[in-house]
Structure formats: structure tokens, C-alpha cells
């Protein structure tokens, strides 16, 4: 663990902005959102969380998969990720990246677009000081202090920040600014431990779930409860699009300037046409089944396959759902 003074942090930020493409939370229209910043002062690091997760920097809402020129037969590969530093990601959102790594980088067909962005973007997380009311990262141990997909974890403590290097990519970045860091002292580590204990305890008093029961979700499914919850859903898909883990996509083919293009873009299993085939057959035709699938996939199927949950407790779906569907109620039902 390293210690970075307040002054050192300012110098690190200035150094990063002047030498790299830095993406950080900024305030706009009453929300926080990740944007590329030109000056260190633009970064707003005293935020609770951004309205949308930084997922789009790795999985853009829409991206070109290939272009095919029918005249020359040349296949144009899509643009790869460019080097950047993503600063101030909350631990829950950073953990979502490690869940996505499990799924999207899985051999034998890793997603090359995601992979290239994951390789070229250095993720620096910033521990939460004040989890929001709708946060429940404690349930999945994806925060509030330390996540699992970041390259560097920063935690604010008295007089500066505690710095934990989490990957080789993180180490390379730190090495470039080595003079700014010093070894963390015992009092720094003590404060970090104390903060971690206090926040986890605070959050556990709101919600605590016996996670091992979640993987049995489908066996113990309470149809009546799910039917009632699913009735509320208006199928707007906001929960999926705001989710840092949801990764499903649809594709679109078109002709542009005499070149054939395929784009891929976010899709959601909450959509009524998600599984409907051209013949009209639909293996998942009911809203209740779609609703169950979404939760069972996140809370039961992903953990069975990867030893990680498909939810990181960021709380965005809870605060954004216009119908009041609350995944915490689903969790409590089985926890």
C-alpha cells in the first residue's frame, strides 16, 4: 500500500491530464457523468455515484462490428480501444468489469472489441465515503471500499489517499509518477481498515443477505411473488441500460456509402421481442418469465458459472425504475 498526499494527488491529476486521455466524473445538469477532461479541476471526485455506469467506455451503446466493401471484398475491422485513464470509478462499477471479463473474455471466442478497450483503459477506483441509501454492494462484497476490476484502488484518508496497486497496468502507471508516492504508514492502514469496517457495518444494518441461498433461486422460486413484482414492470429496459453488468446486444445491418455495415448495440432480456423468432415462436413469451430470467441470470446463473454475481449492488436500477421494482426486495425474499 502506498500513500499519496493531497498535494501529490493534485500533481498526479495534472500529470495524467497533460499526458493522457483522462475520463473522470464531472457535474452536468445536476448529475454526475463520466467525461473526458482537459483540466484536472474538471474532475468532481466528491460525488456519490454517476447517473450511468462507465460501462459504455468498454461496451459502447452502439458500435461498428465490421464493414464489408462488396466491390473490393475488403473487410474493415472495427476501431480498437485507445489508451485512456478512467479515474474515479466506484468499486461496485469496477467490480462489474471483472464480471464482464468472465463472460466476454471467455475462450474460445473472446469479444475482441471489449478486450481491446479493457487492455487500453487503466481503471482507477475511488472508495466510497458515503454509500447512498439505495446502495447494497456489501451484499456482494463489491465495495464500498475495494472493488475487483480496477487497476488501482484509491481511498481517501486523513491528509491524502491510500493507494493500492491491483494490476500490472496499474503498476506501470504508478511507476511513471513514482516520486509522488510514499510507503503507507501503520496509521494510514489503520484508518483504512477502520473506514472499511465502519462502512460495511453501516450498510449491513440496512440489508444483509445469505448469498449462498441465491444460487438456488430457481428451485425456490416463489411464483406468486414474482408475478406481483413482474406486473409492476413497464418493460422500459432502463434497469438493463443503467446496469453496469448487463451486456446483451442486438445487431443491425445496413448499407452506407456503398459499404455494408453491421453495428451492435445494447439490448435487454426485459424486452418483449428479445427471444421472439421470425416464425413468431417465442420460448420466453411472458413478462413474468422474462422478469424471472433477468434476476435468476444475475443472482443464480452467473454465480454458478463464474463465482461472481451478475449484480454489484450499485442501486441504479432501484433509483431509476419508474415502476418501483426493487431488486433488494427480490434479494430479501431469498436471502
Amino acid at each position: 500500500m502506498l500513500f499519496l498526499s493531497e498535494d501529490g494527488f493534485k500533481r498526479l491529476l495534472n500529470g495524467l491530464v497533460s499526458s493522457r486521455n483522462v475520463i473522470a466524473p464531472v457535474e452536468a445538469n445536476g448529475y454526475f457523468d463520466f467525461k473526458t477532461i482537459k483540466h484536472a479541476g474538471e474532475a468532481f471526485l466528491d460525488y456519490s455515484n454517476t447517473r450511468l455506469p462507465p460501462k459504455r467506455f468498454f461496451l459502447p451503446q452502439r458500435e461498428i462490428v465490421f464493414k464489408h466493401d462488396p466491390k473490393t471484398g475488403v473487410l474493415h475491422e472495427p476501431a480498437l480501444g485507445s489508451e485512456a485513464v478512467l479515474l474515479g470509478v466506484r468499486p461496485c462499477d469496477a467490480s462489474a468489469l471483472s464480471v464482464l471479463d468472465n463472460i466476454l473474455l471467455k475462450p474460445p471466442n473472446p469479444d475482441p472489441l471489449y478486450e481491446s478497450r479493457r487492455r487500453s483503459i487503466t481503471v482507477i477506483s475511488l472508495s466510497c465515503a458515503k454509500p447512498r441509501e439505495e446502495c447494497f454492494c456489501n451484499v456482494f462484497e463489491t465495495g464500498p471500499v475495494r472493488g475487483s476490476g480496477e487497476d488501482i484502488t484509491l481511498t481517501r484518508i486523513t491528509g491524502g489517499l491510500l493507494v493500492e496497486v491491483r494490476s500490472g497496468r496499474g503498476q506501470i502507471l504508478i511507476d511513471g509518477f513514482a516520486s509522488l508516492f510514499e510507503e503507507a504508514g501503520a496509521q494510514h492502514l489503520e484508518e483504512y481498515e477502520e473506514l472499511s469496517r465502519r462502512l460495511t457495518k453501516e450498510m449491513s444494518s440496512r440489508i444483509e443477505i445469505a448469498r449462498e441461498r441465491l444460487v438456488r433461486l430457481e428451485e425456490t422460486l416463489d411464483e406468486k411473488f414474482f408475478q406481483n413484482e413482474a406486473q409492476k414492470c413497464v418493460e422500459c429496459s432502463l434497469c438493463s441500460f443503467a446496469c453496469p453488468v448487463c451486456y446483451c446486444f442486438d445487431t443491425e445491418d445496413y448499407l452506407e456509402k456503398n459499404v455494408y455495415v453491421r453495428a451492435k448495440g445494447w439490448d435487454t432480456c426485459a424486452s418483449p421481442v428479445f427471444t421472439r423468432m421470425a416464425s413468431g415462436l417465442d420460448p420466453r413469451p411472458s413478462k413474468v418469465d422474462r422478469f424471472c430470467h433477468r434476476f435468476c441470470h444475475k443472482l443464480s446463473r452467473i454465480p454458478m458459472a463464474f463465482n461472481a454475481y451478475g449484480c454489484v449492488g450499485c442501486g441504479r436500477c432501484v433509483s431509476l425504475c419508474p415502476a418501483g421494482v426493487d431488486i433488494r426486495e427480490v434479494l430479501k425474499r431469498w436471502g
Binding site: H68, D253, C269, A278
Partner: protein, 273 residues
């Protein structure tokens, strides 16, 4: 970047054959697949229109061409039907888990098809006939809604000549049809096979598969030896897009061929039960 798994490679349609009033068989060349197993599928692209999964219906021993029988249904299949010989389309694959040809060795085999569901079974029939000495008796029960909707009619004689015990049925007879009339379950008792040791592979509409599975068990076929090829919407074919994900299984990776016991574990809707 590694190979882009989402990008199809262009091939030419070298032959289009009218199979039934709504289905055509397309022969594509060259065959870019080093090898494939019967029952596997490929993603076909009509450039500028879209992409969809289709079972390969040609012989795995045909190294020069790939064949697909395609029923006109939605935008991609309609666009393929509009295509002419010589046109270019995109192909990628082969994907998925095909029929259990290893487990079938040394045993008798029953194939049950409905409508265009014979397509992935044709690839298997051609594989079996090529390796006839490795397998026991081969019986096929095949049904369609009407005689004109029977696929591969011009190949039946050749299959029979090479030793296939073929039983046909139609839901509704027409013209000079003198064969069986009734759904495919009404002819499942015709092949005389050692049912306890016969491997059964079936493909067809979900409702057909449901009743075929039930009937097979009633007739004494072992659940351990029954397989079906299931159908799902897909956007990627490689387990990333989420569209064919049901109860922890991806039809594109874990299927499209599933064992009887695996189908019992699938959620309602995709499960034939």
C-alpha cells in the same frame, strides 16, 4: 486484436434448389469450414440486411460446399430467397454441439423429423451412410403438413437404396399421396429396432418434439439415448449476445442438440416438456 468472431466471410451461392413451396436449399462455395459435425449450425449474413442461424444440411464429408435449407420467414430468410445464383453472402461458424455421432457408433439409430426439421438430420443421415459399417440399423420417421412440404423428396430413393428404413407421413394428404396420413407420432412404432439400445435424434417444431419425446418413452426407447435439436433466436452464435440464454444454458454453445435429461432442466418455453 484476435480474429473478429462477429465478422462473416464472403462465399458464393452456386446453386439454389426449390425444395418446397416455401423452402429453398442453397449451396455455398467454397466451404470455408475445416470440418464440422452433423447438427452444427452456421450464421449466414445477407449483407446490408442481417444475420441468422441455420443448421448445416450437407454432408460433413463434402469438403467443397456447404448446404442450407431455408424457409422464408422473416427479413433475412426473405432476402436469401430473393438472392440469385452467383451472389455473395456471408458465413461464419461452424457453431454449437451437434448430434452425438460417437455415442451412436455400434448402435441402431432412429431419426425423427418434422417439416424443415429434417435439415440438420439430413447432414446426419449423409454422415451415417458414409460410415455405415460403424452403425447399426438406420430408421427415419419423417412427417410434414402436406406431401408438397416434404423436404428432400428426390433423395429418398437413394437413402432407401443405401439402407435407410424410411417411414413417411403427412398431416393432410393431397394429390396422389398414398402414404400414411397423421402426425409423426403415429408412425413411430413402425421401425423394428431394439428400442432399448437405439439412439434417437429428433428435430422439428417444438410441439412436435414434445409429443415425439413422450411417445418415444411410451414405446420403450431409453431416455438416456434421446436427443433433440432446439431452436432459438441468436445474434452472435458464440455465447455473448444473450439471446439464446435459457436457464444457464446457451443454445449456441451447449446446444442446439440437447440430451433428454438436459431438456428436463431447461426452463419452460424452451424446454419441450
Amino acid at each position: 486484436m484476435g480474429l473478429n468472431p462477429y465478422a462473416p466471410k464472403p462465399v458464393r451461392i452456386i446453386r439454389i434448389k426449390d425444395e418446397t413451396p416455401d423452402t429453398k436449399t442453397f449451396t455455398l462455395s467454397p466451404n470455408l469450414f475445416e470440418s464440422f459435425a452433423p447438427g452444427q449450425f452456421a450464421m449466414l449474413t445477407v449483407y446490408g440486411v442481417g444475420e441468422a442461424p441455420f443448421s448445416i444440411c450437407s454432408s460433413p464429408f463434402d469438403k467443397d460446399r456447404l448446404q442450407f435449407s431455408i424457409r422464408r420467414m422473416g427479413s433475412v430468410t426473405s432476402a436469401i430467397h430473393e438472392a440469385s445464383e452467383g451472389e455473395e453472402i456471408g458465413v461464419r461458424g461452424p457453431y454449437g454441439r451437434g448430434w452425438p455421432v460417437k455415442e451412436m457408433e455400434g448402435r441402431s439409430i432412429l431419426l425423427v423429423g418434422g417439416g424443415i426439421g429434417l435439415a440438420p438430420l439430413r447432414s446426419l443421415i449423409l454422415h451415417l451412410l458414409e460410415n455405415k459399417n460403424n452403425y447399426g440399423e438406420i430408421a427415419v420417421c419423417y412427417g410434414a403438413r402436406s406431401p408438397s412440404l416434404l423436404m428432400y423428396r428426390d433423395e429418398f430413393e437413394e437413402w432407401i437404396r443405401r439402407g435407410v428404413d424410411l417411414h413417411l407421413t403427412v398431416d393432410v394428404g393431397e394429390g396422389d399421396w398414398k402414404g400414411n396420413v397423421g402426425v409423426v407420432t403415429t408412425i413411430l412404432d413402425k421401425p423394428k429396432l431394439n428400442r432399448a439400445d437405439t439412439v434417437v435424434c429428433t428435430c422439428g417444431p417444438p410441439v412436435m418434439i414434445r409429443f415425439v419425446l413422450k411417445k418415444l418413452v411410451e414405446l420403450g426407447y431409453s431416455k438416456e439415448n434421446i436427443y433433440a435439436s432446439l431452436e432459438s433466436k441468436m445474434r452472435c452464435g458464440v455465447g455473448k449476445c444473450g439471446h439464446c440464454h435459457f436457464g444457464g444454458k446457451h443454445v449456441c454453445l451447449d446446444g442446439p442438440v440437447f440430451k433428454y435429461s438436459e431438456m428436463l432442466e431447461l426452463p419452460r418455453g424452451i424446454s419441450p416438456f
